[in-house]
Each structure stands twice: as structure tokens, then as C-alpha cells.
């Protein structure tokens, strides 16, 4: 007998390798990962076919707030967990299962929760996947990098122009390269209105209208940040 194996990984690999996958990551929290994940998924769904957004930030999920999924929405299951549908966008995260109640997950448990969702999803009909990853070198990110991420995956690293974020991002990008990933793209986002556009790298400017657009895909589509993200998408 072999040791006990986790069958989820084989299915996750098989399903992800068939699709375009973007991991939205950052060295720090609060730089705009969730906001950009939503805008990017929306743009992908308009321009490149049905897109699945996965909130892998299971310890602090808030993608549902940005795209307007009520935490009380329930999910179906036939050939797997059915993503919640909003037009061309599909959503899954831990929130429907916890009903937005607080749930303290240790790093190793967060890994299991994410493997569980990815391992049991009904992926049919989706061509693109955007994964909102917890901040930093989380257990969840390391597990995705070690076990399921292939050559078709783009790793987007979000940073603000702030000293604090830039310092952390340098360490972070270096580590991703140490780990052997080449498909790493840096994007600057300016949630603090610092206004300093970096010399190189993609850039999303300060956009105070985002705050009131959260919760409505239609309003998000009208923001300047969305227009900028659509342009960014052409360079990905």
C-alpha cells in the first residue's frame, strides 16, 4: 500500500491546465489585490469569454463585497460545486459556506479549504480563472505554487508606489524568481493617492469612485480604474 494521497491535486492540475489562469498576489495586504481581481475578471469576461473568480483569501474573504455577491447566497452541486453566476462571471469563495461568520483558519487549514474548493468545482463553461490570493507568502500561495500552478499561469504582483510596499515587493518578486517562476508581472496600483507613476510596470491610478462602485458590476464598469485595467489586460 502507498501512503495516503490527496486526490484533489490531480483534478485541480488537470482543470487549471486547460484554462488561462491569473493569480493576483502581493507582498502586502491592502494594495488592491481584491479590487484588481474583480476588475480584471470583469474585463476578461467581457473580452475573452466566461471567467471564474476564486476568492482564495479564505481568512479574510471580501471579493464577494466588491462584485456584489450576497454572503447568504447558496451554491448548487451536480457535477461539482457550482460557482455563483453573475452574467459572464462565476464566483466561488468560502463565504457561502461560512455565511460570513468569522472562522479562524490556521495556515494549514486555509490550504485545505482552498484545495477543497478548487478540487470540487464544476469548471465547465469557464475559459479563464482569476484567483485572489491572500497577502504575502501565505501557506495558500506556497501550496498553489508548489502543487498546481503550471506554465499557463500568470502571476500578477500588485504593489502600491509607497516605500513600504516597494520594499516588501522587492523581496517578494525575488522569492518568486528563486522559486523558478518566470511568468511574473508587476502592476502598480495607487490606493493612497501618492500619485507617483513608476518608470516601468503597469499602472492603475488613484480612483476614489471605486468605493461607491463596490457591490455593483455595472458601477465598477463605469470607473476610470476599470478602463485602465482593460488597457492593462491587452498587455498581459
Amino acid at each position: 500500500m502507498s501512503g495516503l494521497l490527496d486526490p484533489r491535486l490531480a483534478r485541480i492540475k488537470a482543470e487549471l491546465s486547460k484554462r488561462k489562469v491569473i493569480l493576483v498576489t502581493a507582498a502586502k495586504g491592502g494594495v488592491g489585490k481584491t479590487t484588481l481581481s474583480a476588475l480584471l475578471a470583469l474585463a476578461l469576461s467581457k473580452e475573452k469569454g466566461a471567467t471564474l473568480t476564486i476568492d482564495a483569501d479564505v481568512s479574510d474573504p471580501n471579493l464577494h463585497v466588491v462584485i456584489g455577491v450576497s454572503p447568504k447566497t447558496w451554491v448548487g452541486e451536480e457535477k461539482g460545486i457550482e460557482p455563483i453566476k453573475l452574467d459572464g462571471l462565476g464566483y466561488i469563495g468560502i463565504v457561502p459556506f461560512t455565511q460570513n461568520k468569522p472562522a479562524p483558519l490556521r495556515g494549514s487549514e486555509a490550504v485545505d479549504a482552498v484545495r477543497e474548493m478548487l478540487g470540487a468545482l464544476d469548471y465547465r463553461g469557464y475559459e479563464n480563472i482569476v484567483i485572489d490570493v491572500p497577502p504575502g507568502l501565505s501557506d495558500v500561495l506556497l501550496d498553489l505554487l508548489n502543487n498546481v500552478i503550471g506554465d499557463n499561469t500568470q502571476i500578477l504582483v500588485v504593489s502600491t508606489p509607497s516605500k513600504l510596499s516597494v520594499d516588501s515587493t522587492e523581496r517578494y518578486v525575488k522569492l518568486l524568481k528563486d522559486l523558478g517562476f518566470k511568468n511574473v508581472v508587476l502592476i502598480y496600483n495607487d490606493p493612497h493617492g501618492i500619485g507617483k507613476e513608476p518608470g516601468e510596470g503597469l499602472y492603475v491610478p488613484y480612483d476614489p469612485s471605486l468605493e461607491n462602485a463596490f457591490g455593483s458590476l455595472q458601477k465598477l464598469e463605469e470607473t476610470k480604474a476599470y478602463a485602465k485595467v482593460k488597457a492593462v489586460l491587452r498587455n498581459l
Binding site: 500500500m1 502507498s2 501512503g3 495516503l4 494521497l5 490527496d6 486526490p7 484533489r8 491535486l9 490531480a10 483534478r11 492540475k13 488537470a14 479564505v58 451554491v75 452541486e77 451536480e78 457535477k79 461539482g80 460545486i81 468560502i94 457561502p96 459556506f97 461560512t98 455565511q99 461568520k101 468569522p102 472562522a103 479562524p104 483558519l105 490556521r106 487549514e109 486555509a110 485545505d112 479549504a113 477543497e116 474548493m117 478540487g119 470540487a120 468545482l121 464544476d122
Partner: protein, 129 residues
């Protein structure tokens, strides 16, 4: 129920291992928290595995859930706590969501570990080729 996806995962894992060995039997350990319908899983699995490993034998075991509090050290079982049908349903999808509904029966902490019974694990009996 999402037994379909679980069956598919098991078949993918068998396939992966077939590259190196011949799999003669599969042992499947079902965690209590995942609340799987063994007959449905078996039915899907037999259907899907035909093309991959036609004569493979499949056996099932259930593993009782066991929790341990990270604050006070108490261990307890699923039958020691009360869960609504809805909560059971949520937990069967993602066992970790149990942290939203269960607290340590002694000290009230939601910071506990699931020592046993969370998900599906498998092992193979193989014949080297």
C-alpha cells in the same frame, strides 16, 4: 451532492500513478465531515474508472471526525456538538467551515484543529511493471 467531482479527482490521481505502476486496488478513506454518499460515489467511480483501470478493486472506510482545542487541549467528536442541517451541508462542501459553527465545548474557542475525518484520502495497492 458533489460525488461526481470527487470520483473524478480519484480517477485523475489513479491515472497519474498508472504512469509508473499498475494499480490493482484502491482504498478510499472518507472523512465523516464530508458526508459522502458511498453508493453514489461508488457508482460514478465504477463508471469512470473502467477506461483507466478496468479490473481494479475498490474498498471504502469512514474516518470519524476528531477535534482538538488549540487553547485548552480538549478533544471531542462530531456527536458531542450540535449542528443544523444547513451547517452540516456547508461543512460537507468545505470541512474547514466547521470553524464558523463549532466552538470548543469546554472553553468556547473557535481555534481548534481537525485531527481526523475532514476529507477524502486514497491509497493504492500496486504491481510494479
Amino acid at each position: 451532492m458533489h460525488e461526481w467531482a470527487i470520483a473524478e479527482a480519484i480517477v485523475r490521481e489513479v491515472e497519474r500513478n498508472l504512469k509508473r505502476t499498475k494499480v490493482s486496488s484502491i482504498r478510499i478513506v472518507l472523512g465523516e465531515l464530508q458526508n459522502i454518499d458511498k453508493d453514489i460515489l461508488d457508482q460514478y467511480l465504477k463508471m469512470m474508472i473502467r477506461e483507466v483501470a478496468p479490473s481494479v478493486k475498490i474498498s471504502y472506510e469512514t474516518e470519524e471526525a476528531l477535534f482538538r482545542c488549540r487553547r485548552c487541549g480538549l478533544t471531542w467528536k462530531l456527536k458531542d456538538v450540535h449542528l443544523t442541517d444547513f451547517e452540516r451541508e456547508a461543512i460537507h462542501f468545505v470541512p474547514e467551515s466547521v470553524h464558523a459553527y463549532v466552538k470548543c465545548p469546554r472553553c468556547g474557542s473557535p481555534d481548534f484543529s481537525i485531527l481526523k475525518g475532514r476529507g477524502v484520502k486514497i491509497s493504492f495497492e500496486v504491481e510494479e511493471q
